[in-house]
């Protein structure tokens, strides 16, 4: 197993997960990596570990460089199992002098692994740790995206170990941003932000302001998933800055599920109305589009129009599940509207509206309900609904 050199004394020693396709509900179509890094200094330091099932890859890559037992410190930037699963075995093997983590990290490590005998050392922002020729500096980044999350910065290399921030789920033999198409990087980074970080946008905004305020110089960003940003770290920072401000691109999404194609017919006419107003629109049928791909689209969209038939006095299950997922991610600053066909009771539109109100969407219409199968006058109403949303986008 080949480690990969980042700088003179710093190596990538993580693991590539070519097989993972479902990350607790997030579809990882390109697999992922669990990045761990080794700093070969007077105090040899391992930064993060990997998922437990891939610990042999980690040990093998470290062993190409040094006997793992010679490692002195382990830094834990994030306690989630995909980065800490291998930690108990690594601690047993290494017997480290220090396990460096945030204050919340220590609590979370104890609550995960129940080991009171580990040599926890709490990383304090402003109190650097010297490894010999290199200095580690720490930034607490609580809720980006767990309470324990922190960044570790190597002062001499201007290298930021950013934990899950600026990462992406992308398995590849290439390790650097300049070795992979920027379109693929943006695609996967967008999906990662949309599905993991949208709800923490206010904190991302604060963090970027703080990084600018303290004048942190960044030559390289080494996250815990995906590529290392060595050529264009600003691409990642600028994208985060943009997303944290919740600025839509002026476009609309029509997200729907349908029983017997009536709601689908309505969806197409709503989209036509949006197009009449010159708005770029995408039709996303939840039967075919995975919720996590839909969230990638939601991140940059300005208007969300939801369509759903009524089933058993409620929503179709795919729409109900999607709403639960989207609500948790708290997309902000969206215009919304709803529509759907029904047979006798017709609760779906009301439920869609209530959900959008809860997310503080600007709901611009009471919503459109059609009994059983729409006729031409109903379809005209759908076009009108699309136009109304389109006009609201321009105001």
């Amino acid at each position: 197993m080949n480690p990969i050199k980042l700088t003179e004394k710093i190596y990538w020693v993580g693991a590539i997960d070519w097989n993972v396709r479902d990350f607790h509900g997030y579809s990882t179509n390109r697999g992922t990596t669990y990045n761990a890094y080794l700093i070969m200094d007077e105090k040899i330091t391992l930064v993060d570990t990997v998922k437990s099932s891939l610990k042999d890859d980690l040990i093998s890559r470290i062993s190409e460089i040094v006997d793992p037992k010679k490692i002195d410190y382990i830094v834990v930037n994030h306690v989630e199992m995909d980065h800490s699963g291998a930690l108990p075995d690594m601690v047993d093997l290494i017997q480290p002098e220090k396990i460096i983590c945030s204050k919340m990290g220590e609590k979370a490590l104890r609550q995960h692994f129940h080991r009171d005998d580990w040599p926890y050392e709490i990383a304090v922002p402003g109190e650097d740790i010297s490894l010999g020729s290199k200095t580690l500096s720490f930034l607490e980044t609580r809720m980006l995206h767990w309470p324990d999350s922190m960044f570790t910065y190597v002062v001499e290399d201007k290298l930021l170990f950013s934990s899950d921030a600026f990462g992406m789920h992308l398995a590849s033999s290439e390790r650097f941003d300049d070795e992979i198409s920027p379109a693929i990087l943006m695609d996967e980074m967008t999906k990662y932000y949309a599905n993991i970080l949208t709800l923490y946008s206010p904190l991302v905004k604060k963090l970027i302001a703080k990084v600018q305020e303290i004048g942190l110089e960044i030559d390289m960003i080494a996250p815990d998933h995906g590529v290392v940003w060595r050529s264009n770290p600003m691409m990642a920072i600028e994208a985060y800055d943009r997303w944290s401000r919740n600025e839509g691109k002026g476009n609309a999404l029509v997200i729907y599920d349908t029983m017997w194609h009536s709601t689908e017919k309505m969806a197409k006419e709503v989209a036509a109305g949006l197009q009449d107003e010159g708005v770029s629109v995408k039709l996303l049928n939840l039967r075919y589009c995975h919720r996590s791909d839909v969230m990638s689209e939601v991140l940059d969209a300005s208007a969300i129009v939801l369509g759903c038939s009524t089933l058993n006095n409620g929503l179709l299950p795919r729409m109900a599940g999607f709403l639960m997922y989207m609500r948790g991610l708290r997309p902000a600053n969206k215009i919304g509207a709803a529509f759907g066909s029904f047979g006798w009771s017709g609760e779906a539109v009301k439920l869609l509206n209530a959900s959008m109100e809860e997310m503080k969407f600007d709901v611009v219409d009471d919503g459109l309900k059609v009994k059983y199968v729409p006729e031409s006058c109903d379809l005209s109403d759908c076009v009108a609904l699309g136009r109304k949303v389109g006009q609201a986008l321009k105001n």
Partner: protein, 52 residues
């Protein structure tokens, strides 16, 4: 006395409980928390809390 929820992580400040780790006694109203008080879970400021 009203409870307040952190908009970022969901932690609920209950004035009847206070926040002993930050030296806030039980019975302290949210409005009377120090201005630099932070959410004990995620570090968010008072401005990121909403009334429950």
């Amino acid at each position: 006395m009203k409870k307040y929820r952190c908009d970022i992580c969901g932690y609920v400040y209950d004035p009847e409980v206070g926040d002993s780790a930050a030296g806030v006694d039980p019975g302290t109203d949210f409005d009377n928390l120090p201005e630099d008080w932070e959410c004990p879970i995620c570090g968010a400021g008072k401005e990121d809390f909403s009334e429950v």
